[in-house]
C-alpha cells in the first residue's frame, strides 16, 4: 500500500515533461472516447425491418381505411349514384383497361417527362437567379418582393396568357411550369443563403475564401439545406402547374397526359376515369418526391448531423 502511494506521488511530479505528455495523451484519448456519441448505423436487415414497420405500414393502413370507407359508402348504398361516386372496383377496372390497351404508362410518361424536363429548366434558371437575388443588394431590392409574391400567384393564372402567346404547343406547358417553379427554387436558394451562419462567412474570409471562391466553397454548400427544400417545393409547383395547363389546354396534338385524361373523363361523364386520373396525378407527385427529393434531403441533413433520428 505504502509503495503504491510513493509511486503515485512520483508520477504527479511536474518536473518530468515526458511523463506529463504521456499522461496528457492518455487523458485526451479517454476524453475523446467518452465524449464521442456512439454513432454508426444499424445493420441493413434491421434497418429495412424498422423502415417497413415504422414508415411503410402506417400509410398502408391509412390507405386501406380510406378504401374500406369508400367501399362501405357503395356497399351500404349511402351514395348510390355511380356518376357521382364510382366503386373502387370500377376505378380498378379503368386501370386494367388502360393497362391492357397499353395506354396507362403512356399517360403517365407524357406528363412525367414534361414535368421533369420543365423542372430541370426551372432549376437551370432558378438557381443563378436565386444566387443573384441573394447576393446583389440592388437586384434583391428590385425583384426580391416580386419573386416571393409570384409564389402566391396560382400558376393556373398563367395558362390563358401562355396559350395566347405560344399557342397550343408543348412550349406553352413549359412556360407555365417555369413561371410556377422558378420563383420557388430561387426563393429557396435565397432563404438558404440568408440562413448561412455569419460565422462560416467570417471563417471563410480568414481562410481567403472571398468573392466567387467564397460563394462556391462556403455560401453555396452552407445554403444547400434551404436550396433542397426549395427544389422540393419547386417540383410540387412544377407538377401542379403542368396539371393546370394540361386540364385547361387540351388539344389532340399535345398527346394525352394525366391532365387531359382527367378532362377527357369529364367530357365523357366517366367518373371512374376522372378518379383514375386524380389518383395517378397524386401517385406520380408522391412517387417523385419519395424517390428523388426526400432521399436527397435526408442525405443532406444526415451528413450535417441535422437529422435527429433516421
Amino acid at each position: 500500500m505504502a509503495s503504491t502511494e510513493t509511486g503515485r506521488s512520483g508520477a504527479s511530479a511536474k518536473d518530468s515533461p515526458v511523463k506529463d505528455t504521456y499522461e496528457l495523451f492518455g487523458l485526451e484519448a479517454g476524453l475523446d472516447a467518452l465524449e464521442v456519441a456512439v454513432t454508426g448505423r444499424r445493420p441493413l436487415a434491421q434497418r429495412v425491418g424498422r423502415t417497413l414497420r415504422e414508415k411503410t405500414l402506417p400509410p398502408v393502413i391509412a390507405i386501406l381505411v380510406v378504401l374500406a370507407i369508400w367501399q362501405a359508402l357503395i356497399s351500404f348504398k349511402i351514395v348510390d349514384d355511380p356518376s357521382k361516386l364510382p366503386s373502387p372496383s370500377a376505378v380498378w377496372g379503368e386501370v386494367e383497361d388502360a393497362w391492357l390497351e397499353g395506354k396507362l404508362l403512356g399517360y403517365i410518361w407524357t406528363s412525367v417527362s414534361r414535368g421533369l424536363f420543365g423542372f430541370l429548366l426551372a432549376l437551370l434558371i432558378g438557381t443563378p437567379l436565386g444566387l443573384v437575388v441573394a447576393r446583389v443588394k440592388f437586384v434583391r431590392a428590385a425583384i426580391g418582393p416580386i419573386l416571393s409574391g409570384l409564389q402566391s400567384l396560382p400558376s393556373v393564372a398563367w395558362v390563358p396568357p401562355a396559350v395566347i402567346w405560344l399557342g397550343l404547343e408543348p412550349s406553352m406547358m413549359y412556360a407555365v411550369i417555369l413561371l410556377g417553379a422558378v420563383p420557388s427554387i430561387a426563393n429557396g436558394l435565397v432563404s438558404g443563403v440568408d440562413q448561412v451562419p455569419p460565422l462560416f462567412l467570417r471563417a471563410g474570409r480568414t481562410m481567403g475564401a472571398t468573392g466567387l471562391r467564397g460563394t462556391w466553397h462556403i455560401v453555396l454548400p452552407a445554403a444547400l439545406p434551404g436550396y433542397v427544400a426549395g427544389l422540393k417545393q419547386g417540383w410540387a409547383f412544377s407538377w401542379r402547374s403542368l396539371m393546370a395547363a394540361e386540364i385547361i389546354a387540351s388539344s389532340p396534338e399535345l398527346g394525352v397526359g394525366l391532365g387531359q385524361l382527367l378532362e377527357n373523363g369529364r367530357t365523357a361523364s366517366s367518373m371512374s376515369m376522372v378518379f383514375l386520373a386524380i389518383f395517378l396525378i397524386l401517385f406520380v407527385g408522391i412517387a417523385i418526391d419519395l424517390l428523388i427529393f426526400s432521399p436527397v434531403e435526408r442525405w443532406v441533413l444526415r451528413t450535417r448531423g441535422l437529422l435527429v433520428k433516421s
Binding site: D20, E35, G305
Partner: protein, 262 residues
Amino acid sequence: MATTLAKDADATVSVEHAARIEHVSKSFSGPAGQQLVLDDITLDVAPGEFVTLLGASGCGKSTLLNLVAGLDAPTAGSISTHGRPALMFQEHALFPWLTAGKNIELALKLRGVAKAERRDRAEELLGLVRLKDAYGKRVHELSGGMRQRVALARALAQDSQLLLMDEPFAALDAITRDVLHDELTRIWKETGLSVLFVTHNVREAVRLAQRVVLLSSRPGRIAREWTVQIPQPRRIEDADVAELSIEITEELRGEIRRHGQH
C-alpha cells in the same frame, strides 16, 4: 489612417514582429452617436511569442482581434502582419458539409497547395492535434474538444506565422479545456508560431502566455502588462500561476469597479 497588410513577399525583410499594432482606435456608430471601442492601442507581438489579451466584457478584445485578422478596418492607426493571420473562434466554425479532413484540405486549397499534397498534409496536421483517426469524421460526430482541435489544425493549415485565438476554449468543460491548454502549449512550441490569444479567464491567460496584456473597458485601452516567467509545463493549479492570477484579477476587478462609479 494607413492600414498596411504586408504581403508574403515582405516577409523576407527582417522579421522583428509577427504583428505590429500602432495607435489603433476603433469606433462604431451606435444609437448614442460614435462610440469609441478601442482607444490608441499599441502592441507588438514578437515572432514565436505567446501573448494573451485579457479583459472584461466590452473591452473590445474581440474587436481588436478582428482588426488584426483583417475582418474589419481600424478607425485610426495601423496594423501590420506578415501575410494573413489564422483565426480561431469560440465556436469551432468547422463546415458541417465537409469531413474533418476535408475542412483542413479546404484551408490548404484556398492557400494554393497542390491537390496531390493536400491529403498528406491534412493527415499530418490531424496527427499534430492527435486526431489521426478523425479524417473521415463529420463535425457532428466529434466531441467539443475534438472539434476545437480540428479547428486548430485547420488554422495551422493556413501556414500563417500568427495565430489569433478568440476565446477558443471558453465553451468547453474544465477538464477538456485543461487538456487543450497542454496541447496548445505543445503545438506552439513545436511550430514556433506567434499566438495572440483573447480571453476573459485570468488563470487561462497566465497558464498559457509569456506576456499578459490587460485591457480596460469602454473604451479599450492597454491598462497593464505582465511578463510571465513561470517555466512551462505549467499547471492551472500551480501555486505560482495562482499567485500571479490573484494579482491580475485584483487589477481587473479594479478596472471593472471603475465603471460602477459613474
